[in-house]
Amino acid sequence: MSILVNKDSRVMVQGITGSEGTFHATQMLEYGTNVVAGVTPGKGGQMALDGKVPVFNSVEEARTETNANVSIIFVPPPFAAEAIIEASDAGVELVVCITEGVPVHDMVKAKRIIDQNGTRLIGPNCPGIITVDECKLGIMPGFICKKGNIGVLSKSGTLTYEAIGQLVNVGLGQSTALGIGGDPIIGTSMIDALKLFEADPETNGVVLIGEIGGQMENEAARWIKENMTKPVVGFIAGQTAPPGRRMGHAGAIVSGGDDTAEAKMRIMTECGIAVCESVAEIGDKMKTALNNN
């Protein structure tokens, strides 16, 4: 089981002939991901990744020819939202957009279209998804993961790696690790991902990593309280971030109210989540939470 992707996922790479696309698609292949197609308009008919993967001119063509059902996007920011819409239009079920720096107005429109078409989007500006030992659909280092039963869900890339590293150190493997991205508009919310982890028989617990800005962590916490049977360990980055400043992620800016780290940690605790005050506690807290469950 696991969530979203597995060894049967048939992956296409939008922007496969660009430097980022080539590099990461190669890494994905090496991890064992079933990369079946690439898309670069104007380069249809060529072969990418040392002759291993056929390139098509459009997502529609790639989907028809190879039956790819998921797509990962590495195209530059000005064209990323359109790439998402193209994939959605062609009926791709799951789209992961790695691209950082997509204009927000473009994403608002793209989000409206994918919602209408029922496409699931992860990102943009995210590290992607990895189902350990089966499918890597992203840019994370696969070798740090170990197969197991913890789901990892995070807004941040390197904090996902930190959480995975700590879990492995305390002897806990992962089912699927998922970075949903730190932009103001993202395709899949924490609640969306939590629903999948709750329903997945291979996941026994979830690490939930958020940061300052927005209300998503609070909404997730309230959902967890009402619906989640599996233990959740939480962490919020940005306790020391000054208000009004953008800390790297466009979404990581405190505008007041319940979007500070303090407020989010309080709400999460009230909702029964085991909240880590320090990032260094994630692994240990998960171990304790599993034992208590």
Binding site: V104, I185, T240, A250, A261, S278
Partner: protein, 392 residues
Amino acid sequence: MKIHEYQGKDIFKSYGIPIQDGYVIDNIDEAPATIKKVQQEFKTEAVVVKAQIHAGGRGKGGGVKYSPSTDVALENAQKMMGMKLITHQTGTEGQEVRKVYITQAFDIKQEYYCAITLDRSQTKDVFMVSSEGGVEIEKVAAETPEKIIKVWIDPLVGMKSFQARKLAFGLSLSGDAFKSAVKIFMKMYACYMGTDASIVEINPLVLTEDDQIVALDAKFNFDGNAMYRHKDIADLRDVHEEDPTELEASKYDLNYIKLDGNVGCMVNGAGLAMATMDIIKLAGGEPANFLDVGGAASAETVKNGFKIILSDDHVKAILINIFGGIVRCDRVANGVIQAVKELGLKVPVVVRLEGTNAKEAKTILSESGLAIIPANDMKDAAKKVVGAAINS
């Protein structure tokens, strides 16, 4: 990206939104002639003198002065130019006023608030108005939320007139003022979309004694990621309003924000960088900065990051925390050694490297003979760097 009020009003003007107009000066010698020009052109004796800084709350800080006569206007302009204006958004040091805007004055019957921005939880833009203009809208939102009227805009259809009418009715406007407000709201939305703004705010929008609707202020924030398609707006950037070190860091594509503490930190990834600042604080220290070296940290980025951190005299120790994914730790280690050799080891440096090629990196550092303090994990690293900062 932010801009000044007078620049925002120029944009409003180009969209046909009526503004409180005027001229801006950056040299006090131009004040007498400019005041006269505003008085003649807008047929008014009274003018308003307004400090141009990016921070909000200017009125309360003494940066907006109604001036009934030429002499008072001149006196206000002289006081304002060059002053350090302190508002709730500038911090205690204040922001130097380098430009003063002299505008026409109106007799005001009523003040309103209006703004467009993204509502993240609805994933739509929201247009908000309130009859409680001219004051801190955060307060209105917290205490009397029913006084804020909102409409959410479908991104595929855009704002529709019925929505603008709902807003104008909500402000109890009637007659020509109502018609004028509806037009202004539609134009504001066109302006928000057309400039890739992340916020367009008018506070206050006023109803004058002769029933005109006029924008007295113009606040914009733009999506930096979209500025590639708005070169004219990107050119409005005023580097004087930015921290010089942050500006320098942006030249190297480093994401740096200066803070008040004494423990410098260099991290890959924004989330991990914030978490590193947090754990420094938990260990009893105060972070001196936020610094995300990004996904492709090379020897060169590490060196530049070092330079930026060391340009802050308050820094007593540095923590380098890298979780290598695409970034290879051995390359980071070589970058650290190169930076230390070139710039000297002025303060203790604690290094924590994990992920891709971490083992090789640790060997490189320990064999370098440099007094770099290795750390095993984040907790260990935070403890060591805070200890080093106290002792150095």
